[in-house]
């Protein structure tokens, strides 16, 4: 007696049988999953549905945003003064470095001109605020407040004041989604600062990174800093990515197991910089493209996908 139904049960017009409907919907959702995972065809569907879900999301986040604004308003004067002092101090420190940096950059440009080496592009970008972490518990992604309106493109690298955070993977009209470098199998081509060794660092999904496919006798030590190598044509060279914290050289395996932690505040919230996309690299020589030359770069689908989206 769940209720007195005022409309009689539909005896004659019953629609399709539940089992038929079930198989239709199951088939649809499974094909959606395959299309999304294997072929990445569904970005336009996402954009369409996002038109309806984004306002809802903003509405859902309004209370917490309001609370944080109130909290900021009532932040004590003393803590603000302390922060201000600290900022002035760091700014002074940074200013001296910056003055030298400008001088060095000019000198570097001059030397490069003398050598006839192609000039390194100055990296610019736009500041973005991390709004929240994506709800999906299976991946490590964050949402920032810059999107198509601000000409953000999929594939652009994202850094903070310490180093690389991740890469823009999906762009919505007002927001964009950044996959963090700690996301499982997210790859960043890196170089060991001390030895100049090139490799690719992969996210493990638990907040750490792994330097894979390095031979057991590779010249890597605990505490080594990894910076972007810039070979991918996406990340500009020289941004700190990770620090080696643990190494296992097991002779039964041909590769060393090297665990790193990210240098940047990858799991923290705050402001980040979305760097402008780099100019496309010159096409590879035909021979190299026939056989993927880099032995240390496995054919990761993520790398390929991102490269493709940048290439467009």
């Amino acid at each position: 007696m769940a209720g007195i139904d005022h409309s009689p049960p539909p005896f004659f017009k019953r629609g399709p049988a539940p089992l038929a409907l079930l198989s239709l919907y199951l088939g649809l959702s499974i094909s959606l999953m395959v299309l999304d995972h294997k072929f990445h065809y569904l970005e336009w569907v996402r954009q369409g549905v996002a038109v309806f879900t984004t306002p809802l999301q903003m509405l859902a986040h309004a209370p917490s945003k309001g609370f944080s604004q109130v909290d900021e308003y009532f932040a004590s004067l003393i803590s603000l003064q302390k922060e201000n002092d600290q900022l002035k101090h760091t700014q002074l420190e940074a200013a001296t470095i910056l003055q030298r940096h400008q001088h060095l950059e000019a000198e570097n440009r001059h030397l490069r001109e003398l050598l006839g080496v192609k000039e390194r592009l100055p990296t610019g970008g736009q500041l973005a605020q991390i709004l929240y972490a994506a709800r999906d518990p299976f991946s490590r992604r964050v949402i920032v407040d810059k999107g198509m309106q601000d000409n953000v493109l999929a594939g652009q690298p994202v850094v903070d004041h310490l180093g690389v955070i991740g890469q823009v993977t999906r762009v919505y009209p007002l927001l964009s989604e950044i996959t963090l470098i700690t996301d499982k199998d997210q790859a960043v081509p890196v170089q060991v600062v001390r030895s100049g060794l090139r490799s690719v660092v992969f996210g493990l999904g638990n907040g750490q990174l792994e330097l894979r496919y390095m031979p057991a006798n590779a010249d890597v030590q605990n505490g080594d800093v990894l910076v972007t190598s810039g070979l991918d044509g996406i990340f500009p060279a020289g941004f700190p990515v990770a620090k080696v914290v643990h190494m296992e050289r097991d002779t039964t395996y041909s590769f060393a197991r090297i665990i790193c932690v990210p240098v940047a505040g990858v799991e923290h919230f705050g402001e980040v910089m979305i760097l402008n996309p780099r100019e496309a690299l010159p096409p590879r020589p035909a021979e190299a493209s026939a056989t993927p030359a880099e032995g240390d770069k496995p054919a990761s689908s993520k790398v390929r996908r991102i490269k493709r989206s940048v290439g467009n």
Binding site: Y25, V49, T53, F138
Partner: protein
């Protein structure tokens, strides 16, 4: 008095706009920033399951599919992952609704728990199969909380159906 088959309470018919409102509110609750905390239930699954059991002629797989897609896009997860889990849950819930409603509320919660757990496990399986990282066992606490919330949810969602429209002195109920 709880509105079950054993009670003599007669409910008013449900209003379609109320169903829509509760489903949208559940979606809104799901999109709150609290969703990261361990043990926060999947509100959409709970409310969908409730209406699939109570009003399977009004809410069933169509709603589940659409809300599932909305969740997929809002999450930025694999497309169709929530839709698959919700549709299957909705189908089983509506086909078992005659049986589930026969029980007292706590036992209903016990019957609903495997359904809500299945939603979580299906998503876990789909994502692990496509090479995502394991999110930890905190992910599986949500359905337990949701099943416990079945009792309060029943009272809250049936609230508009309790009151008679016009009060009549001569009416027995």
């Amino acid at each position: 008095m709880q509105p079950t088959f054993t009670s003599s309470r007669i409910l008013l018919p449900v209003r379609p706009w109320f169903i829509t409102l509760t489903l949208v509110l559940a979606l809104l609750l799901n999109l709150m920033p609290t969703a990261h905390w361990p043990g926060v239930p999947d509100w959409v699954a709970l409310v969908l399951c409730f209406w699939s059991v109570r009003e399977f002629r009004k809410v069933s797989m169509g709603w589940s599919f659409i809300l599932g897609l909305a969740m997929d896009v809002a999450d930025g997860s694999l497309m169709g992952q929530h839709a698959l889990a919700y549709v299957l849950m909705s189908y089983i819930a509506s086909s078992l609704s005659r049986r589930i409603l026969w029980f007292p509320l706590l036992q209903q919660a016990l019957q609903v728990f495997p359904l809500l757990f299945m939603v979580q496990v299906l998503q876990l399986a789909a994502r692990m199969a496509t090479g995502a990282a394991f999110p930890g066992f905190g992910y599986l606490i949500g359905p337990l909380v949701a099943a416990l919330l079945w009792v309060p949810a029943t009272y809250v969602l049936l609230l508009p159906q309790y009151q008679p429209v016009e009060r009549d002195e001569n009416r027995p109920i």
